[in-house]
Symmetry: C2
Subunit: 191 residues, 2 copies
DNA sequence: CCTGATATATTGACAGTGACAACACCGCAA
DNA sequence: TTGCGGTGTTGTCACTGTCAATATATCAGG
């Protein structure tokens, strides 16, 4: 006899996705710290303990959100970089990076805050992160001598990431300047 | 001035400082999220509720830590900048900034993570933060035309902050490269 | 001295939380 | 059939931030 007649039913493979989706929505609403597994479960229409059937613990759920975030970011960067090169490609990549941070501030923070998730424990997330950086490095490779690509890629990433972070975390400056700044930064690495 | 008996006794003005000091130690041990007011109180030798006698809530305590952190940072930057100018001053300031982030990663994170403390609600902390940035801007003013000081200061801050953050949050690269990187970054803003 | 007022300190209580354990149920393979 | 592993649920626990009620120390004014 099913004790709960109301068709709670099995979600088969869906429960994991449903939980991740619910968590993704909650993340932008309340942030990673305030996000509670119980609220995630409720929003997904499952029981209190459901998240533990699909993730080791809260950190593992957050790591999955971060991994998906890096994959989306990498795809976005690849898209704007494709077919372009040099300073213009760099400006577009920078603009997209900043745009991502502004569109999903809580997710962006999660992706770069060791205190919220220690991604070094989650190889899939680290890999997705590396593939985002690879896009940037490929762009720099089109505009710098080979022996300087590594240093310049790192500097470019730091500059763009610093700007995106400071805008998100301290209201450094208005959102509208995004494109101008990206171009200005890209020019620093030009000829 | 009598407490000092076996009784718990009043700390007069000290309780607030004792709590902040205990919180500062705990912060680097467990991070801002895991830091609990109860543990802070216990470490300061006070009761569970003691923090509420001196701070509105947990966020206010963290804000005080952040404020003190910004003041220490500003002092450190002023020290290394004093008597120097141009590219060398910039390299020293950058190195000090990165060094601060590496020496107190949890505090540095707290100072720049809106999710942990929303500093816009705490004017004293915002002011201390601004005075840190002012040191950097002053250095840039010694090496750039007047109409470019604002843009270049911002870019320099983003670059250094991005590097410090990425090193802390993702193990971007080894600590030992700190000085080299600071010089390399400073060179980007040189003649 | 005493007397309140005020700042400080302490314990009691409560709703949420992450996590573990025990138990119920589904589908499938031997 | 039987048994087993994946999935789902409720029971329970220690811990947390915070509010309320209460006690105590210190100080000002009589």
């Amino acid at each position: 006899m099913g004790q709960s007649s109301g068709r709670q039913g099995y979600h088969h493979g869906d429960a994991r996705n449903a939980l991740a989706a619910a968590a993704g929505e909650l993340l932008e609403d309340v942030g990673a710290v305030a996000l509670s597994l119980r609220q995630v479960a409720e929003r997904a229409g499952l029981s209190r303990q459901a998240p533990y059937n699909h993730f080791d613990d809260k950190e593992a759920l957050l790591a999955e959100l971060a991994r998906a975030g890096f994959e989306r970011l990498a795809a976005k960067l690849r898209k704007v970089a494709s077919g372009r090169s040099g300073e213009e490609a760099l400006a577009r990549v920078g603009e997209a990076y900043i745009g991502f941070a502004q569109a999903s501030p809580a997710l962006f923070r999660l992706m770069f805050a060791r205190e919220l998730v220690d991604l070094s424990r989650f190889p899939a997330a680290t890999a997705a992160s590396a593939s985002s950086f690879a896009v940037l490095a490929a762009v720099i490779a089109t505009m710098a001598p080979k022996d300087q690509v590594a240093d310049r890629s790192l500097a470019a990433w730091c500059l763009i990431h610093g700007y995106a972070t400071l805008c998100n975390e301290t209201g450094l400056e208005s959102v509208s300047k995004r494109k101008t700044r990206a171009e200005q930064f890209a020019h620093l690495f030009g000829p």
